[in-house]
């Protein structure tokens, strides 16, 4: 359908890898021609609208759909009473939540209880209001501190550490202890999640807001009980996801169910309010951090415990305290995670899941320790630098966090900081400097890609994965060009289609490493295929040459020994081929060896201004020095860091999903009431990349997508303390907290 017309055309100019070329999809996006799932139209398209519960716990005692069914244009009303059987996920920890409309039980406010399908969007919207649902309500447990809430201990199997923390804390000459809280946040991508489902016989085509078409295909096939080959998922563009697209949510399943039931293509678009209840959110946390240290600032004990909310029926992979096992050198470390079952919508990944919250508590506690010791916060971090993994003793594959500290401090002018809180002011404005470090987790999953060179000498690179705005289209185009020796303008990247070689979801800052490795290997295989093609070709200067004896440049394969070679086009033409293709795959590197693969690192330095009379807090500037390994495109990588920092500023000062504890209802499910950072909230943001390529990866890359978030809230919170002398241990920090 849409992909051929919307595949981005790269710019004509040749470019080297690493160069900050304009993103290859900028032209279609700025022209309004990029086809997002919600832009898909089919003849005879029907529209589906969800009905969601108005209680948070209990049962449906009656569901009266008569008025809705009688409304003009209505084609179907599907509820738990008449939904066809849907299969449960075999593995609850995987990407598939429990199927929608499973039974009459209600587990959270805003749970989908019916879907109404009609000829038009307006008709479906009106009829959805006519579905009358009667409930028998139970007591609501929707508060992290609720005494009746069920606690799941060590839900990720990540609890652990080293040494004896309690004993070391007891013996420590200096101790700090704090309880930190972070609010629930909602992903709120600008594009409301949408699904367009179309059955042709037993074959299902789904245009879906997903961050992983391959995964969505597998999940849909499993739920609907059809073979994966019968499902195709398309998403050439996504209007943001920030983790919300990492699971196959109920609305996607219901769009497919509805389309099959009414025998027409169906479009289902979540309302903004439903975006708060239907596609995950960052769970709120309560965390305690206890640190013991010597008087000269050596950490001797680090204990980090985290409680986070979870829904009643689902799972959510979100280790909060785990990164504290690998952040600082300490002979005694313990981390513990607990998930608390509540009548809240299912949490899910959102921009640096777990680390966003955990890093905040850890880095604030470090700041508290620095203050207690009378030591510069940066010096404290350098004094406890983890030269190796503090728990396992493994060597880092590539860790240039020290260079991040140095570069960030220099960019920011950290040496000008007066250590005394509330010491710096400009008129009635209190000025604060704060900093934080970030050791982001490593993540990579298996990935495949295909590379093709055609008779025109141009290349196509294909993989099912998504560019969710990160720049994957662009960097994979650049990478393909480099590996095949072609100008960027001769390489076309095709993604967002489950029929292409399988890629993992765009998440965990892991796609560039995974897909880049797959593209690397596919390109090597393709070069080998060309060498195979001319192995016995007397006319070819490449006859009988091995792969390690050639390089690719200027549309040719050339011998490294004497520089002779020939063009792809010549080899194809002489052998009567219109193209050659090769696939390549990448497996995630193991993490058990003597060297452990490391994620990206960053140091962040923030200046905040606090109005002494009004308590208004503004971020005046914020700089990031980041170690992301080899940066494939300086421009799009910078945008990743800048964009993540904007999200971190929102987390620090604005964003809070407010759930009423007695009803479980979200009180602010609009973009007018749930505050996200707007343009006027954001100052100039400095970014510098430092450090070397990571040898774990053949392209030298690390991830960088989520690196903008962790560290930012802590740097801001620490700057607020420095400005005001008030230690706020809860996000978002509000005016009333500092007055």
């Amino acid at each position: 359908m849409t992909p051929p017309t919307t595949t981005p055309t790269p710019p004509p100019t040749p470019a080297r890898l690493g160069e900050g070329i304009d993103r290859v999809d900028a032209r279609v996006k700025t022209a309004g021609r990029a086809a997002y799932p919600t832009d898909t139209a089919y003849p005879g398209l029907a529209h589906a609208v969800l009905v969601q519960s108005t209680i948070a716990a209990g049962r449906i005692t009656a569901l009266d759909a008569a008025a809705a069914e009688a409304a003009p244009g209505v084609l179907a009303v599907i509820s738990h009473e008449n939904v066809p059987a849907l299969r449960e996920a075999p593995d609850r920890s995987a990407s598939l939540p429990p199927p929608p409309l499973r039974d009459d039980r209600i587990h959270h406010h805003g749970q989908t209880v019916a879907v109404v399908v009609a000829d038009s969007f307006e008709q479906a919207t009106e009829a959805a209001r006519l579905v009358r649902v009667t409930y028998a309500a139970d007591a609501v447990v929707a508060d992290l501190d609720h005494p009746d809430a069920q606690h799941d201990h060590d839900p990720f199997g990540t609890d652990g550490g080293t040494g004896d923390v309690e004993k070391a804390l007891e013996a420590a000459p200096v101790r700090v202890e704090g309880t930190y809280r972070t609010a629930a946040n909602t992903n709120n991508p600008m594009g409301p999640f949408a699904t367009v489902a179309h059955w042709e016989g037993d074959h299902l085509t789904v245009h879906d807001c997903t961050q992983g078409p391959s995964r969505t295909r597998a999940d849909l096939a499993a739920t609907l009980g059809v073979p994966p080959e019968a499902v195709r998922v398309l998403a050439p563009y996504l209007g943001g996801g920030f983790g919300a697209g990492l699971r196959t949510w109920g609305h996607t399943v219901l769009a497919a169910v509805a389309a099959r039931q009414v025998g027409r293509p169906v479009k289902l678009v979540l309302t903004r309010k439903q975006m708060f209840t239907s596609v995950g959110h960052r769970p709120d946390t309560k965390q305690t951090v206890r640190i013991g240290a010597t008087r000269d600032g050596r950490i001797t004990a680090l204990d980090h415990r985290a409680w986070q909310s979870l829904s009643m029926t689902d799972a959510n992979m979100e280790p909060v305290s785990h990164t504290s096992q690998s952040s600082y050198a300490s002979p005694n470390i313990a981390t513990r995670d607990v998930q608390v079952r509540l009548n809240v919508p299912a949490p899910g990944s959102m921009r640096a899941p777990g680390d966003a919250q955990g890093n905040y508590a850890l880095e604030c506690a470090l700041d508290e320790l620095a203050h207690e010791l009378g030591m510069d916060p940066l010096e404290l971090r350098l004094r406890n630098y983890a030269d190796e993994h503090p728990v396992t003793g493994q060597q880092w594959s590539c860790n240039d966090l020290r260079a991040c500290y140095e570069a960030g401090a220099e960019m920011f002018g950290w040496e000008r900081r007066d250590p005394e809180p509330r010491s710096t002011r400009r008129g009635r404005t209190l000025v604060g400097y704060g900093m934080a470090g970030t050791s982001f987790f490593f993540y990579q999953a298996d990935c495949a890609a295909r590379v093709t060179v055609g008779a025109d000498g141009g290349a196509v690179v294909e993989s099912s994965g998504m560019d969710i705005g990160t720049g994957t289209y662009t960097v994979m185009t650049q990478l393909g060009a480099e590996l095949l020796g072609l100008p960027v303008g001769r390489v076309r990247m095709v993604m967002g289609d489950s029929s292409l070689p399988a890629a993992p979801s765009a998440g965990g800052s892991g796609l560039t490493a995974a897909m880049g490795t797959a593209v690397h290997n596919a390109s090597r295989h393709l070069l080998q295929s060309f060498l195979d093609l001319v192995r016995d070709d007397a006319e070819s200067p490449l006859r009988g040459v091995a792969l390690d004896g050639v390089r690719a440049e200027d549309g040719r394969i050339v011998r490294t020994d004497d520089g002779r070679g020939e063009a792809y086009t010549a080899m194809l033409a002489r052998h009567g081929r219109d193209r050659l293709s090769a696939e390549g795959s990448a497996e995630a590197p193991g993490q058990k060896g003597a060297v452990v693969p490391t994620g990206p690192y960053a140091a962040k330095f923030a200046e905040v201004h606090v109005d002494e009379d009004l308590g208004v807090i503004r971020v005046a500037r914020l700089v990031t020095a980041a170690h992301c390994g080899r940066v494939l495109n300086e421009k799009t990588a910078r945008s990743q860091l800048v964009g993540g920092t904007v999200g971190g500023i929102g987390m620090a000062l604005l964003e809070e999903t407010v759930t009423e504890p007695h009803t479980g209802r979200i009180a602010n499910p609009t973009l007018g009431d749930y505050l996200v950072a707007v343009n006027a909230d954001i100052p100039r943001l400095g970014v510098r990349f430092v450090g070397g390529p990571d040898p774990t990866n053949p392209n030298g890359t690390k991830g960088c997508g989520e690196l903008g978030i962790p560290g930012t809230p802590a740097a801001i919170a620490n700057a607020v303390f420095h400005a005001t002398g008030v230690r706020v241990r809860r996000l978002p920090i509000r005016i009333e907290d500092v007055l």
Partner: protein, 174 residues
Amino acid sequence: MVNGSAAAADGTPGPVVRVPVSLRVNGAERRIEVDTRTSLLDALRDALGLTGTKKGCDQGQCGACTVHLDGKRVLSCLTLAASADGRDVRTIEGLERDDGAPHPMQEAFARHDALQCGYCTPGQIMSAVALIEEGRAGSDDEVREFMSGNLCRCGAYPHIVDAIRDVATGGRRA
């Protein structure tokens, strides 16, 4: 046409009321028939196939649906299609020159990487073009303030400011 309301007092829906609407969209006369409840946004997207204009919230809170109505920027999700009858609408699809070359603002957004996922981008660009026409792009702070009705969840704001100031200063912004 029956009484303007499609729903009776008891909440049961009345017959669907459809009205003819004549719009001048990106310079071309377009005649459509719409449900009286249809927003200008949905009419552009569904009836006219102009999907460049995006729905972000459908509540007038995000700016993704910004178009120009008689030369002024409006939120098309809060504008009923029927109320735009006889008026001039300009959307992102109408910004390119006749020869297909991009508008300077579109070029500047690409050059400054003022977009990531791209979903808010058409609305940002329509606001940005209007901003300059309104004379509201005289400083970085002014741009920040008057672009704050257009949310960008990817966080491209600093680059959006760069792009707009670039165009506003005639390309003197690097």
